[in-house]
């Protein structure tokens, strides 16, 4: 019970910080919109609906990276992570709280990005939305853990994309497959499998990332 309360308090704190500082979310929205505009000039010809669907996933992954690189900014700047780590609560609660707030940012950004994509390029159907939702869970789970790792390193923001992109390739495969293939259910199931596997692994290993 108190575990869930801890998670709630931590996630609420992140959303409150974002509401005050507006450090991350506007940047993510602007980035995803700019990316979509760039894509218009990247795609030659008119019959590139499939290619546009693929590029949507590039936009999603890179926008997520932008947000993830700021995920632990508040903790890092003030060293607050030390106090969270010393708290008697389970350390994995820190990961769950942070992953939930990252998930909320992703959902909010896509609330803008998907309609924009529909207006600029082609209609977005239920399977794309489903794929994006499932992919968000995986991105938030893995990304939060890796952001925690990157914060502990000297290279920080530089390191995160290198750590994250190889792990994001299966997400992209699942997402693009769900958007364009004739049988999306297989890809959605794959995304769900990815989410489950890596969420459990991240949840179990976060403690080691923030302690010696």
């Amino acid at each position: 019970m108190s575990y869930l309360a801890d998670v709630g308090a931590l996630a609420r704190k992140d959303l409150l910080l974002e509401l005050r500082g507006r450090d991350t979310l506007p940047a993510m929205v602007l980035f995803v919109l700019s990316t979509l505009v760039v894509f218009h000039f990247v795609l030659p010809g008119d019959e590139s609906e499939l290619a546009a669907k693929g590029l949507l996933w590039v936009a999603i992954v890179f926008t997520a990276l932008l947000g993830l690189s700021r995920a632990f900014a508040a903790e890092r700047e003030q060293g607050v992570l030390d106090v969270l780590v010393l708290a008697p609560s389970d350390r994995s609660a820190i990961w769950v709280g942070k992953a939930l707030s990252v998930l909320a940012y992703l959902a909010l950004v896509e609330l803008v990005a998907l309609p924009a994509f529909a207006v600029f390029f082609s209609a977005v159907d239920a399977r794309v939305v489903g794929g994006v939702a499932l992919a968000d869970v995986g991105i938030a789970a893995v990304g939060t853990l890796l952001a925690g790792m990157a914060v502990a390193s000297r290279a920080r923001e530089l390191l995160l994309p290198l750590l994250f992109l190889p792990l994001a390739i299966p997400i992209v495969v699942g997402g693009v497959g769900a958007s364009v293939a004739s049988d999306p259910s297989r890809y959605l199931a794959f995304l769900a499998l990815y989410d489950a596997l890596f969420a459990i692994l991240s949840w179990a290993s976060f403690e080691y990332v923030v302690t010696e």
Partner: protein, 226 residues
Amino acid sequence: MWLRNNRLPAFAALALGLMAAAIALIFFYAPVDEDGLNQKIFYFHVAIALTAYGCFVWGAWKALLVLWKRDEGADLESYVAIHQGVIFGALTLVTGSIWARYRWGHWWEWSEDQLVLFLVLFLFYSAYFMLRFSVEAGPRRANLSAVYALFGVVLIPVSVLAIRLSERFIHPVAFDKGGPNMAASQFLTFCVSTFAMVALAAALYHVELAGKRIDLRLRELRERLA
């Protein structure tokens, strides 16, 4: 007992013997099939790839020991195993690329699952080294490396699945590769060359480990003198 204390010479001798046997079998015993002489690289390529998997799994096992048993020495072992894995992984890419050149006429073949997988793994484990080099030596680095190494062994099967799935929308034509269709003589050659590569990797692993340990010991002694 002798074997426990002298793993390096044992593995080195084993690697030497098996490698000689493998080369002899590959060039003088295994039949030349319809792909011609070029097909011989298959015995190296697949053996090297399997060895690389072995190194990654061994590295992840040692990583698990770091986290689970708080075994400090396992950190170095995990790192060395993954280092060997990356070397063999790079060799897989090179031999696979040569194989693709002769088979299909170009250096890269996206429909070859194993090649694509090794490209992904190569990127993943290169990031592992970036991570290690940007964190100060100590228990925190051991933890971070271990967690990332464990992600690696989960990523391998997930990527295999992902690459299989991706072919269905990248190349809509169904691929039918079929199982390994090898003659007994080919299978024997394949097995010997795989064992030879594993023995070679084990020998190299112990060489690098011994070197790194001597290095650490030397530093400790120097510090004590200072």
